[in-house]
Symmetry: C2
Subunit: 211 residues, 2 copies
DNA sequence: CTAATAGTGGACCATATAGTCCATAATAGG
DNA sequence: CCTATTATGGACTATATGGTCCACTATTAG
């Protein structure tokens, strides 16, 4: 097969795209930005990547393969599921603190999924589902070991973890201090650690029962 | 003072702006949307509101005066600070669950503050600061009563609450189930309830100490 | 050397956007 | 009634955007 060889490396291009989408979000990253970051022109960009949505999806995929996968590895590394969850929350805190101002590309795009093109949105929803399925697996293990708050489903406990992760991301994005982010993660981890000692409902509770 | 009378009510216009910015965010709400929602033309819009940034700030101010203030009232209503914090978290959960897909206008804009025009960003930062100052006041009260996790600063505990709130918002925006959001809030509230019984560091901890 | 193939630059297009301008219309005070 | 004053419609501008097109160029297989 003949043809003129590409004059840029699509792989390192995607790396730059990760950076752009991460720092500026989907809408505020223009095709122009994508071109100039790689030093190519429109023709080359569209030939290589199809369109902005695909470029974003590729960037996301790359991002997940590096950063997100790394955090999930922490979740699954520890022998004890509760230790895994705690280490996971702390690692997430560390990560968010290290990315003050922008947080996590994956969670940030997820938080804005309603406003994204369907193609990107589908990709995100799929991966968000998979991500928390892995969290829930770990939480279920904790449940089998009797380490969840009394009477609480693993779905409920997973929801808490999900909220904390989205929350740490939000904090990073509002520009919270590194220390605040780490403290929040730490407090969440401590709570998880104490799950086995928590009863589900307290006498002062107001809300209705939640299975 | 003479002059042609306005043919629309700026107050109800702002109400519609709240709805628009809340549902679509800042960028995805165009000046055109703002016009047509009120049934006015460009001249009238700019004469009445100045520009898009001011319209957004007005909408935010209105939103805070109704929704945000309402939630803060829950925080401060209960006699016991811990009960206040728990009720506050549950109320936030309820609110987010009731606003699946869009969450809270205030927190959502905060989470995107880096990408907003400076005028709006300043307004947001100011109010975010005030908001959590009020939370922290309540947390400090809890601290005085010895109700924080052992050795944990009120700043740290406040950060946790902050993360949970941003997290509930994120969950609402990813389209989490109503039940998941409520469960997350409930689990967080339970954790707060158990603060007095938590020691700060556990033997299995890894992270460095955080004052 | 030649032809088929694939990449490149950059002009071009349609559309959307925030914001300006101004002639016209509707008031209230004199 | 007249005039100063304010609001209105809507044309207009400048700019940015995602995306298409195509003549041109650099390859390699034969």
């Amino acid at each position: 097969m003949a043809g003129r060889p590409r004059q840029f490396d699509p792989d390192t291009a995607v790396e730059k795209y990760v950076e752009l989408f991460w720092t500026n979000g989907f809408e505020r990253t223009s095709v122009d930005d994508l071109q100039t970051a790689v030093g190519i022109k429109r023709g080359s960009f569209y030939a290589a990547f199809g369109d902005k949505n695909r470029a974003c999806t590729l960037a996301l995929d790359r991002y997940i393969g590096t950063n997100t996968a790394g955090i999930l590895a922490v979740l699954e590394a520890a022998g004890n599921p509760v230790d895994g969850l705690c280490a996971f929350l702390r690692a997430a805190g560390r990560f968010m603190a290290d990315n003050a101002g922008r947080g996590c590309l994956f969670f940030s795009l997820c938080s804005d999924v309603e406003g994204l093109p369907e193609e990107v949105a589908r990709f995100l929803r799929q991966h968000e589902h998979d991500f928390f399925a892995r969290v829930e697996r770990r939480v279920r293990d904790a449940g089998k070991a009797g380490l969840l708050p009394e009477g609480q489903s693993s779905a409920a406990a997973t929801s808490f973890v999900r909220a904390v992760l989205f929350g740490l991301n939000g904090m990073a994005r509002v520009g919270a201090l590194e220390r605040s982010i780490l403290q929040a993660a730490e407090t969440a981890a401590t709570a998880v650690h104490y799950w086995p000692q928590m009863a589900r409902a307290s006498s002062t509770r107001r809300g209705a029962a939640l299975p």
